[in-house]
């Protein structure tokens, strides 16, 4: 509550409001542009461009002698474009890989910038203080004019990405296809790079070099976890970026001594971590749950298989846990939980005899065991003869085999099973097998 009341107190301060709107706008625009950069696997470009802005800013200052942010913007944009052209040239005309080219251009451009910076300091260009503020950023120093510039540029960037949405989409996902359709892919790439440069440069003053690199990539990487559609990803990334900006600013306004830029980065990183862990499909938690469920399913099937195979080979159909473990080695704990869940379903009975757990199927259990074995063997034989009999048992997207046998494949697969001598040879109770299953008549 304290934080909220403090926040509302600070919101009534016009200065904080300027800073807040500035950082939110920044988060919005870099979130959108960053999504494209992320999908183009250019996440580190933000870092490189932010460093490459230094010589441009120094040059602009040396040429004009003024600290007008507009000149800085032009200077930084020029060197940013030069840097991205240098990277392109190096990767295209030599065998140097992209990551090396990025690091190389980053360090050399920044080195040139430092040389210029010391030149300016040594030759007394007058009031040069504040140039290095561009490196670390100082959101607290944002004033009305800066925010107007940032807002204008941010809106222009958003409009541009809306206008070229289709083209950029193509560029991100299949540039080769785009080229074959006759789109000027190289030109589009340049436009995208230009937009990235502008987005980075307007953010430098508020966020600084390193923090700008984070604003470009982190919201986009977080947004990627929640959706598979580009349009939703753009909106989400913009929202997450804006949210990080707002959170960082509010925290820094309510706590003494905490700089805004790093707090924005931390907020964005927390958002990213939350997405990494909790997002519904790609998140670590969802993955872990899916894995556990699959493991349990597999363990259950193994128990049913071993029971059935014992019966098929003329055994009594009563097994102890050790025999199952010998046949299908799985962790003991997993077997235990599989047995428990099978018992809950009423498919098996477990009784303790001579110090060992004996397991046998119930009437319902034998039918299920038969079905499972049949399905597994049919899937196996389908995978062996996939090209001859056609059909599709694979799941869309993942390519893994589901195990649901479509009715029209039932008969050819049964015949193949018979051919390989793999058809389930013991039927629990002919009468109780659902007859409609493609009409098995062995």
């Amino acid at each position: 509550m304290n934080f909220l009341s403090q926040a509302s107190h600070f919101l009534s301060d016009p200065n904080t409001l300027w800073v807040l709107s500035g950082t939110v706008l920044l988060g919005l625009s870099s979130g959108v542009i960053g999504s494209f950069a992320f999908l183009r696997k250019r996440g580190l470009m933000g870092d490189v461009l932010a460093h490459a802005a230094l010589p441009g800013i120094c040059l602009a200052f040396m040429l004009t002698g003024s600290k007008n942010p507009f000149f800085f913007l032009i200077g930084a944009t020029v060197t940013g474009i030069l840097a991205s052209m240098a990277i392109n040239a190096i990767t295209r005309f030599s065998r140097i890989k992209e990551d090396t080219a990025l690091a190389l251009v980053l360090s050399v451009f920044f080195g040139v910038g430092i040389v210029f910076l010391t030149q300016i300091q040594h030759t007394n260009y007058g009031n040069q203080s504040g140039l290095d503020k561009f490196l670390f950023g100082q959101s607290a120093s944002l004033v009305g004019d800066d925010v107007w510039v940032m807002g204008g540029v941010a809106i222009a960037l958003l409009l541009f990405s809306l206008l070229f949405f289709k083209e950029f989409k193509l560029l991100c996902f299949d540039p080769g296809f785009g080229r074959s359709l006759g789109f000027p892919v190289g030109m589009l790439d340049l436009v995208l790079m230009l937009m990235l440069v502008v987005a980075v440069v307007i953010g430098l003053q508020a966020a600084g070099v390193v923090l700008m690199a984070a604003l470009i990539i982190t919201p986009a990487a977080a947004a990627r976890y929640w959706t598979e559609r580009l349009d939703r990803m753009l909106v989400l990334s913009a929202l997450l970026g804006g949210m990080s900006g707002a959170l960082g600013t509010l925290f820094s306004a309510t706590t003494a001594n905490l700089p805004t830029g790093p707090l924005i980065v931390v907020a964005a990183t927390v958002v990213f971590l939350i997405s990494l862990i909790f997002s519904p499909r790609r998140g670590l938690l969802a993955k872990a749950v899916r894995l556990a469920r699959m493991r349990k399913q597999a363990a259950r099937e193994r128990v049913l298989h071993s029971l059935y195979e014992n019966r098929e080979q003329g055994g009594s159909g009563e097994l102890d846990t050790e025999t199952i473990l010998q046949k299908y080695p799985i962790p003991r704990r997993r077997l235990k939980s599989a047995l428990a869940s099978l018992m809950r379903d009423g498919w098996i009975q477990v009784c303790k005899r001579n110090g060992a757990f004996r397991i046998r199927g119930t009437e319902e259990g034998w039918i299920q065991a038969y079905e499972t074995v049949l399905r597994t063997r049919m899937t196996e034989v389908w995978m062996m003869h996939e090209n001859e009999i056609g059909g599709n048992l694979r799941e869309e997207g993942t390519g893994s085999v589901t195990g649901e046998i479509p009715p029209d494949l039932f008969e050819p697969l049964w015949n193949l099973l018979v051919k390989h001598g793999r058809e389930p040879k013991w039927k629990p109770d002919a009468g109780s097998i659902p007859a409609g299953e493609g009409g098995i008549t062995p």
Binding site: L104, V108, Q119, A221, N257, P262, T269
Partner: protein, 298 residues
């Protein structure tokens, strides 16, 4: 030792040790890790400073090296969770750096750390920061620190040279041969962290990042053999630092910046005129071939 000589020796040592490790980095396509590590060690430095309460180099070195390794560990874990490589690097190092900056501002009274100095270093101050042993002045601290780091990397890479080589060129085959690829990876990352930290206290992050990539990229254009590449890279690094120092004297500019510019110049020369892969050279060869075929067809 005179001042100029000290600075040149320090620069050359930094260039040599970074150039040496940089070869493995660019062969493994991890050049940006140098940049990432050099930013990510900031919280390590601050925490070590807060715990030890002194500006002694050793605790800071340890703290920074620990965070360098932590950074590579985070990057590796994110990658193995399916985060694309560039995003993994960016997210990790920016977050760690931001935490470092926040720590500095939180403990600004206790921590008398100048951010500019940590990041950009000032090689010009190296001669004054000397180390004394048993009361004797044994020379600048930076030379000892970087020299030790260089010897350490020479020793470890020398011992496991074959393993490093196979892992750099063909990690799958290395894994198939039973070489502990991940261990070698972390060994390399540990060396990079130690070297980065030992160097940039005196010369600044930017020179470290530059020396990790630029000389080794130059060497990569000049040869196809790892041993030669290592030698050329170390040589190009040393040459850049000497030439850069001269540039800095002439133009009265930042020494680290000038060394970076010098390294960039050497790279540009190799990029254009390398006998194997140079742009101009290849153009000349193509032109000669074209004339030759034209003559043949006449």
């Amino acid at each position: 030792m005179s001042m100029g000589l000290t600075i040149m020796v320090t620069g050359a040592l930094v260039a040599a040790s970074c150039g040496f490790l940089g070869c493995f980095l660019i062969l493994r396509r991890m050049a940006m890790l140098g940049d990432a590590i050099s930013h990510a060690v900031l919280p390590g430095i601050v925490i070590a400073f807060l715990i030890s309460g002194s500006r002694d180099s050793l605790p800071m070195l340890l703290g920074a090296a620990a965070f360098g390794l932590l950074c590579t560990f985070f990057i590796q874990s994110l990658r193995s969770q399916g985060v694309q490589s560039d995003a993994a690097i960016s997210v990790t190092f920016t977050a760690l750096f931001a935490i470092g900056v926040i720590l500095v501002s939180l403990y600004t009274r206790q921590v008398d750390l100048d951010l500019d100095c940590v990041l950009y270093g000032e090689i010009a101050y190296v001669p004054w920061d000397t180390l004394s042993l048993f009361g004797h002045n044994i020379g600048p601290k930076a030379i000892w620190g970087v020299g030790t780091a260089f010897l350490l990397s020479l020793l470890i890479v020398g011992l496991f040279f074959k393993e490093f080589k196979i892992v750099s060129f063909d990690p799958q085959m290395a894994a198939a041969l039973g070489i502990p690829v991940l261990l070698i990876h972390y060994l390399l990352m540990g060396l990079v962290s130690v070297t980065t930290v030992a160097s940039f206290e005196s010369v600044g992050a930017i020179l470290v990042v530059a020396m990790l990539t630029v000389p080794s990229a130059t060497a990569y254009l000049l040869t196809d053999r790892l041993e030669t590449m290592l030698a050329i890279s170390v040589g190009a690094g040393i040459l850049s630092s000497l030439f850069g120092y001269w540039l800095a004297l002439v133009f009265d500019a930042s020494i680290a910046g000038s060394m970076t510019v010098a390294a960039g110049t050497f790279f540009l020369l190799a990029f254009l005129f390398s006998p194997l892969h140079g742009v101009v050279t290849r153009w000349l060869i193509r032109r000669r071939l074209r004339t030759a075929t034209a003559v043949d067809h006449r």
